[in-house]
Amino acid sequence: MPKDGGIGARTKRREDVRFLTGKGRYTDDINIRGQLHAHFIRSQVAHGRIRKIDTRDAEAMPGVVKVFTSADFAGAGGLPCGWQVTSRDGKPMLEPKHPVLAEGKVRHVGDPIAVVVAETLDQARDAAEAVVIDIEELPAVIDMKAAVQGGPLVHDEIGSNLCYDWGFVEENKAAVDEAFARAAHVTTLELVNNRLIANPMEPRVAVGDYEDHSGMHTLYTTSQNPHVIRLLMGAFVLSIPEHKLRVVAPDVGGGFGSKIYHYAEEAFVTKAAQVLKRPVKWTASRSEAFISDAQGRDHITRIELALDADHNFTALRCETYANMGAYLSTFAPCIPTWLHGTLLAGNYRTPLIYTNVKAVFTNTVPVDAYRGAGRPEATFQLERVIDKAARELGVSPVELRRKNFIKPDQFPYQTPVAVVYDTGNYHATLDKLLELSDYKGFEARAAESKKRGKLRGFGLAHYIEACGIAPSNLVGQLGARAGLYESATVRVNATGSITVFTGSHSHGQGHETTFAQVISEMIGIDASQVEIVHGDTSNTPMGMGTYGSRSLAVGGSAMVKATNKIINKAKKIAAHLMEASEADIELKDGKFTVAGTDKEKSWVDITLAAYVPHNYPLEDMEPGLEETAFYDPSNFTYPAGAYGCEVEVDPETGKVEIVAFTAADDFGNVVNPMIVEGQVHGGLAQGIGQAMLENCVYDENGQLLSGSFMDYAMPRADDLPFYRVDHSCATPCTHNPLGVKGCGEAGAIGSPPAVVNAVIDALHRGGFTHVTHIDMPVSPARVWQAIHG
């Protein structure tokens, strides 16, 4: 049994108390004396030329301080893109400017044109109606294929809507084509990975503050990575050196990727506060979030799987159109490429893989990472085409997968798509899933459903993801313009308590609890003696933030590294105090002992000695006990698992009900099982949401049809079942100190194909064998249409 508060314990979250009593401090709860309020005037058309903006009447209205337009940002840079992808022809991607406020043209509904700053938000909104904006509407391009086939140009100056045309692995292309020519069977599937809106429950907020006498800027923002915002906004947009720019991300109400990026509103309030010499606050309404938060997914894919006569996968070939929207969001180019193409081997031994990805500009809101980011798209197409192949070949989808799995003794496994999986046991997770989901009893349950006029189906999906993002030297070669290490400072206080400053950011993940558990375990002091501090560039070391299931694997590793430095130093002090050899000092349960003796010093004896160095080897060692470490991973981590979905379909209405959902994951070691399970639950809800409910839809003119919760279907409590989740099939990561892999995105990655596979299975069992695929969301109307198609 893990000890209470240490690694493996189901420690209750310390952060809960403030959230449960209304004492959380989110960005919108921050009000600075004298603050002004900003209201953004956004484009109502998807594409247009700005002829004239007249702000005079608005500026004369009550409470209005200033109306800003792009002219006020003449000296500012564009919002930078953090990743450069190279096309098949060796040329870099096209990278048009993304201005803070629209310059000359508007390129999507929601593109910010002007900002009214006033004493109150209502005054700013009232005055916004008096800003005269004359826009010549231009034809919009929404459809990706039309965009690259001569559609209107989103950015005239770059001459094309094709951002890049990426081939991977380009050297394998001929061999892949040859394998298809030789194949005994080829299964082909065309599908859409539907565009999604992250919709963390807290809309984005930014508050800018400026201190005239020191030139110090402060930005409070709803960010998953305040240091990244400081770097991007400071260095590339506003030319503010880091030491004069503090970025604070306090309690943040969920992110799911959408709060990674540097947004125009952050740069705006920072600049406006300096110009107006008063704090400036902006709070997104939900309607505004729908047209200004980066959106997710949106791929159109054709995938082909080649099999030999024994049903071994021999090659995989894919072509994907990936929507970038109107501008490149911070990490947009890497999502359909390096987080997607590299995962197409899945859990299988497929020897030859080629994918072509065309990234396309359209007159829609920018698209970037959303929980899973590229890996759900890879998993969905792969797990759907395997299911379709099994059906075409008349074999069990379970056995077809098992036959092609990478075997447990083949790790580390070099895939044909660059990555090397360190550990895994896919047979084990599959067996666990079948056991937990009572697969054997399925036929009886299906028969019972049939009596009630319902069609029952079982869908299986396996997934793998590359998490613990990422080895900096590798991603640098792949086009990243940033390192992806993490850092931590461990400050041991004189009386033995510990404050950890981490670059990881917690916005629901519970780091304040789990990181303290790790320290507690390593040193043997009570977790209550450990405080975790994050989210403020003024007191935490450089951090790359939280996304890509990286916090514990990368940020936790940095903390472990720093803590090991602390322990090493503490042992030296202990050796001095006990007049023993450092090699003989042992630390256990918060006590230092000398091997083979009864000498003992407590943790506090040592920490006190470090800060009151009366008896201390000052000639050899500095006083104090504080260490910083940076950790740069040597490889990605590879969480994997097997997901099973059981549905009932009402053939008269097409309504699908999820009656059971089971997840058997391999996350390696687990620090707090309760929190890990919670992460899986949340990921499953988002994956099931994508599969069954959520859909971000634009009409042909670029108007967002699903622009509020009235039309964008969020999963609700009664849409979902209790889930069965398990993480007992653990193969610890071999290259980070905790052996952890990451769990934040898994649920959203593995569940969509399981749901769709289950629906197709149900329809086939009901005799509707003409239905080979239904695009997500598998809404009642779409299922009914498929049945009657």
């Binding site: 409590a717 009664d718 209790f722």
Partner: protein, 161 residues
């Protein structure tokens, strides 16, 4: 501006409001009770749910002047008098019924309203009652479990611990 008075968490309060001032704004900006959150503008998400004369309502869809004189209870008024977590709040912590915490105030207020009306709800009743409270983090599993536990029911048999 009009003066409006009401009782919030047992205390008489008053403040100057416009016609358009929503109860949520009055609580957050007028009284500094920022535990009540605003997560949407279409009356869907439920992060702003408070009790008005004992009934759950979406404070972003009620004008402050329309509830003048009413008894309002917010998340800040939900703990026990000694400051310890109430049974419902404690159940949310015990069963990990929250992650980012943003939907949590509304979720707790709705759960409290449910248990006042229906002290031993079934799983389906809890799910149905909470349909107006969106959570993006938890997938609802542990919220439902917490509410069932807060009603005194045994939740140890629920799948996946």
């Amino acid at each position: 501006m009009t003066k409006v008075s009401m009782t919030v968490n047992g205390k008489a309060v008053s403040g100057e409001v416009e016609g358009r001032t929503l109860l949520s704004s009055f609580l957050r900006e007028g009284l500094g009770l920022t535990g009540t959150h605003v997560g949407c503008d279409t009356s869907q998400c439920g992060a702003c749910v408070v009790h008005v004369n004992g009934k759950a309502m979406k404070s972003c869809t009620v004008f402050a002047q329309d509830v003048a004189g009413a008894e309002i209870c917010t998340i800040e008024g939900m703990a026990n008098p000694d400051g310890s977590l109430s049974v419902i709040q404690q159940a949310f912590q015990d069963h990990h019924g929250l992650q980012c915490g943003f939907c949590t105030p509304g979720m707790v207020m709705s759960a409290a309203a449910l248990l006042a009306e229906n002290p031993r709800p079934t799983e389906a009743e809890v799910r149905h009652y909470l349909e107006g409270n969106l959570c993006r983090c938890t997938g609802y599993h542990n919220i439902i479990k917490a509410v069932l536990a807060a009603s005194g029911q045994d939740v140890t048999k629920i799948a996946a611990e």
